[in-house]
């Protein structure tokens, strides 16, 4: 691992200033479960690490009023176990508790998790990895080097949103649930604070897949805000994996429903494990509006979510699996009481 300087400021402002004075090569680090891992793999090589976890009073969980507000340094495990979140927004609690392991959820923060980088095998392997000897090109890791996943072993790759440069899946669960629930982030930078929908944090890969997020250098996510909605209780995060626990999604669906009897008045649907960013399934939402929820309409919504999907060599199964994941998620959510 390359050497770096390390600072641990105690206020958000001091962190912003430290970043500005450090110049290029500076990175914030929170739990470190992605960044430190990728530094060990020689994929990330920051020259200056600004550890934000000593910032005081940036880990509160607020559930009163007309919104949920999670400060960025709250660990994933704390929100997964929050009684209000568990009861009123199971989609959020489940997206967190079905991610990683309890050890990692204790370390990783809900702000940092939004910036988790892809688990694409070609991205993770090949950057100085002794076993592969730098053999795999990756446009995300080394812009312009090519993409070994396209035409390669692409079972895990995206079927939605991919480009001729990159097919890497956006790996997170939590961002998918937040996108479904119209959440936004509060961001602090040198020019002050701003808010940004979580959906707008992510870029499509296009021909610049190394640019993944829309945050500007030095900007820091300080909180996540979820507007309260009656759909919260009729919600779920349904995640299909190669093993039952502690694995990334092959396909997942975050679903929340407003219903009038057995009729859907409004559906929130977002997809994980299948797309290059947390994917709002607007066509599926539209297909369900005003419909009775039946096995047929649920599956039709699932198919609508994947109408634009383009499979590679080994991942066409994700289209059928993804559609059924959406259908199952809708059925699970609809069976939950909204009172």
């Amino acid at each position: 691992m390359r050497s770096f300087s390390y600072a641990r400021p105690e206020t958000a402002l001091a962190a912003i200033q430290a970043f500005a004075s450090a110049g290029s090569g500076a990175r914030y680090i929170a739990g470190g479960t992605t960044l430190y891992d990728l530094m060990k793999l020689d994929i990330e090589h920051p020259q200056h690490l600004i550890d934000v976890t000593a910032i005081r009073g940036l880990d509160r969980i607020e559930t009163s009023g007309d919104r949920l507000r999670f400060e960025a340094l709250a660990p994933m495990s704390a929100i997964a176990a929050n009684q209000t979140v568990l009861r009123d927004y199971p989609v959020l609690a489940e997206a967190l508790s079905k991610a990683a392991s309890q050890q990692l959820r204790n370390m990783a923060t809900v702000g940092g998790n939004l910036l988790q980088r892809t688990r694409c095998l070609y991205f993770r392997n090949g950057a100085g990895g002794v076993s592969v000897g730098n053999t795999y090109p990756c446009n995300k890791r080394e812009p312009g080097s090519g993409c070994a996943a396209i035409g390669g072993v692409d079972r895990g790759q995206a079927v939605l949103g991919q480009s001729a440069s990159c097919t890497a899946v956006s790996p997170g669960d939590w961002p998918v649930a937040l996108v479904a629930m119209n959440a936004y982030v509060e961001v602090l930078g040198t020019s002050g604070t701003k808010t940004l929908p979580v959906a707008d944090l992510y870029r499509m890969p296009g021909d610049t897949p190394h640019l993944e997020f829309t945050l500007q250098p030095g900007e820091m996510i300080t909180a996540i805000v979820v507007p309260k909605t009656p759909a919260g209780r009729r919600s779920t995060y349904h995640k299909i994996r190669d093993r039952e626990s502690y694995a990334f999604a092959l396909a997942s669906a975050a679903v929340a429903l407003e219903m009038d009897g057995d009729r859907v008045t409004r559906a929130h649907i977002a997809l994980g494990g299948v797309a290059t960013k947390p994917w709002r399934a607007t066509a599926a939402e539209a297909a369900l509006a005003g419909q009775q929820l039946t096995p047929n309409t649920a599956l039709a919504a699932g198919h609508a979510a994947f109408a634009d999907a383009r499979p590679g060599r080994h991942n066409a199964f994700k289209i059928k699996l993804g559609a059924r994941t959406v259908a199952d998620a809708l059925t699970i959510a609809a069976a939950r009481s909204d009172t």
């Binding site: 390390y6 641990r8 680090i29 470190g32 430190y36 530094m39 309890q102 050890q103 204790n106 370390m107």
Partner: protein, 202 residues
């Protein structure tokens, strides 16, 4: 794999040849020469002073900022109970407690434990008296090779105190971050169930 290249060299022969070549060249280099010539030159250690409290004792130490908590424990403090399995947060063999919460020490920057309480498997027993979880792992034959066991036990102790060990299903879910390649899972789940009952009685 060995056909078609016309060289007549089989894969097996090629691998065997490489292995013996490597061994020969290693043997021909004096030990001090290998240490100088073959190992990468590390930059001088940074001077980051930290004061973690490890198993109840303050442990002031100066580290290179790159150091993981796992390497600090094993290489500097001679606490080799926490194991290096994958070194990437995927296996759980390095699980320790920081301020009472379980974490993987391989992905924890040592710099982060400045001023914090770190508990390792070495600090779990009360002198010679084993922690109920340690005893339960013995009683239920919850290991084979034992490499993952310190991590399993450290994770299990907090799994109980979190309230996530009240059913077999919960134990399996909340222990999924600890991989046992010998497959001692049946014994591990039984041990945690048994220890949970004892721990709750105090």
């Amino acid at each position: 794999m060995d056909g078609g290249n016309g060289s007549g060299v089989t894969r097996r022969a090629a691998i065997g040849g490489t292995a013996s070549l490597t061994a020969a060249s290693l043997l021909s280099v004096p030990e001090e020469g290998l240490a100088r010539g073959a190992l990468p030159t590390l930059p001088p250690a940074g001077a980051l002073a930290i004061r973690p409290i490890v198993n109840g004792r303050p442990m002031p130490v100066t580290i290179d900022p790159r150091t993981s908590l796992l390497d600090l424990l094993r290489e500097r403090l001679a606490l080799t109970g926490a194991k290096k399995g994958c070194d990437h947060g995927q296996c759980g063999a390095c699980t320790v407690h920081v301020d009472g919460r379980r974490v993987v020490s391989c992905l924890t920057l040592a710099a982060k434990v400045d001023g914090r309480e770190v508990t390792t498997i070495e600090g779990l027993s009360d002198g010679e008296r084993l922690h109920p979880m340690q005893q339960a792992f013995i009683d239920h034959d919850a290991l084979q090779c034992g490499y993952c066991t310190p991590g399993q036990i450290m994770a299990a102790v907090v799994c109980v105190s979190e309230g996530n060990a009240t059913s077999k299903a919960d134990i399996r879910e909340y222990m999924s971050g600890n991989i046992c390649r010998c497959g001692a899972y049946v014994g591990i789940v039984a041990a945690i169930e048994a220890a949970a009952t004892k721990m709750e009685k105090g």
